[in-house]
């Protein structure tokens, strides 16, 4: 039905002299040459000086974020550690006598949170699974280090790189509710 018969007529004498091909080639290359030299239409990006605009929703390196009050959002639930396909995340929970969470009303926070950036495949599962919106794939795409140990980012580094993120404030509202409960005027008849 949709057969297209390609015209394969034999080359004319002029075509067989290679002249049209050569002239065509000269024209194309000369045009590109002139465009690059005189109009500056080079497609090269001078990388370290010029950088591309990272689009929204880009899946770069995963970092931990803080809430508005500067407190750790992560509650050490270890879901991301569990879901992480290449097992790049390792969380050390605080334990029974560990340090309390620095966020008010949160039950706990991780004692140590490590992401091995050499293992990470930037799949974004940790971000998807996190109930606290505490970990996000951010826009960093160029991670370098001089050793393997250097590429294992610890909690402190991840929080510093991650910055602050608002998002949901589940525990804040819970706290407000709890406080409201305390002061709720109970009518005693």
């Amino acid at each position: 039905m949709s057969t297209k018969v390609v015209d394969r007529s034999p080359l004319t004498f002029y075509e067989r002299t290679y002249l049209p091909a050569i002239l065509g080639g000269l024209k194309v290359t000369a045009k590109h040459f002139a465009d690059t030299v005189f109009k500056g239409k080079s497609v090269t990006m001078q990388y370290p000086e010029e950088r591309w605009v990272v689009p929204e929703g880009y899946r770069g390196a995963p970092y931990l974020v803080k809430d508005q009050d500067g407190a750790t959002k992560c509650v050490s639930c270890q879901l991301c550690e569990f879901v992480c396909p290449p097992k790049a995340i390792r969380i050390t929970p605080p334990g029974a006598e560990g340090q309390p969470a620095d966020r008010r009303n949160a039950e706990k926070m991780p004692k140590e949170f490590e992401i091995n950036m050499l293992r990470c495949i930037f799949c974004g599962m940790c971000q998807e699974v996190c109930p606290e919106e505490a970990i996000f794939l951010q826009k960093d795409y160029s991670l370098t280090g001089e050793s393997r140990t250097e590429m294992v980012f610890n909690k402190e580094k991840l929080l510093k790189l991650g910055g602050t993120h608002g998002g949901i404030q589940k525990w804040k509202h819970k706290l407000e509710e709890a406080e409201a409960q305390e002061t709720f005027p109970v009518q005693t008849r």
Binding site: I22, L26, V28, T29, H32, F33, S42, T44, Q46
Partner: protein
Amino acid sequence: MESLQYLSPTTQFVLFSALKILVVFGVVMTGVAYAVLVERKVSAWIQDRVGPNRTSPFFVDYIPVIGPFLVRLGIFQPMADGLKFMLKEDFTPNYVRKVYFWLAPAITVIPALMTVAVIPFGSTLGSEKMVIADLNVGILYTFGIVSLGVYGIVLAGYASNSKYPFLGGIRSSAQMISYEIAMGLSVVPIFLLTESLNLGDIVKYQADHGWMILKQPVAFVIFLIAAFAETNRLPFDLPESETELVGGYHTEYSSMKFALFFLGEYANMIASSAMMVTLFCGGWTLPGTLLSTPSSSILVGLLHIGVFLAKMAVFMIVFIWVRWMLPRFRYDQLMDIGWRRFIPVALANILLTAVVVAL
């Protein structure tokens, strides 16, 4: 200069020849280095890229305004490239035929440099002729020497004892037998017209009677195309073909030995350009100006050399430009062109010229 007059003619000859050889060698080497840069830059521009623009030695900071511009042009890149070749490990694989493996780069590079000897690259400087060897059989010498370069490539292919270089070597020999006869035949009409094999005489003839490129366009086209094959440039880079033979005959080479092949290729390009300028484009002369006759003035002598170098540069650019225009020929196609097209055309051209000259 005064004291030179008291030296015997032989001593003067030796002295001046040695000087000329040193200067020409230096110019060719610099030419090779910068031809590589021009190649990279022009290739980049044709492909909408930028090309080398980073190499900046420490002293660039002391050159105001033009310093950064020179860096953008990559002027210092050849120095870095040269240094890199010197410092790289010279690796000899243990399966190669060692003697030939070491010999091949030298066999490639020496003929390429030797061809420059007979080229008249200027008129005179003072009373000294600007040609290293003013041979009466200049062109025969060139053809004889130039063919030797191919043996270096074939030998490299054989000595490497590995499949890709071997294929490259085979192709090189197949290529040589297809273009060389046509190349030799294409210049015969020039000798019919000029009645001399001396390149200096050919230049003089062109200064008096107009450029050969206008009188013998067919010969020029054949010679030009054969020169592309001779220098292993695209569309005839069969022995090298990076895309299919991983670099062909020099796959197994590294460091300075590889650099020698590279140097040989570019020195060949320079020599071919010089030959074409001398045979077809009037050598160091520039018609319509004072520059078409030899002069005793140093300034005019230098201008002549400048004219020659400028003409050569044009051919070098053509070499580089054509590289990005045409796809590589298969070697049966190259043979077809050589044997079934160029040889008959060149022979017909000789016959025609002979008839015209005889009349």
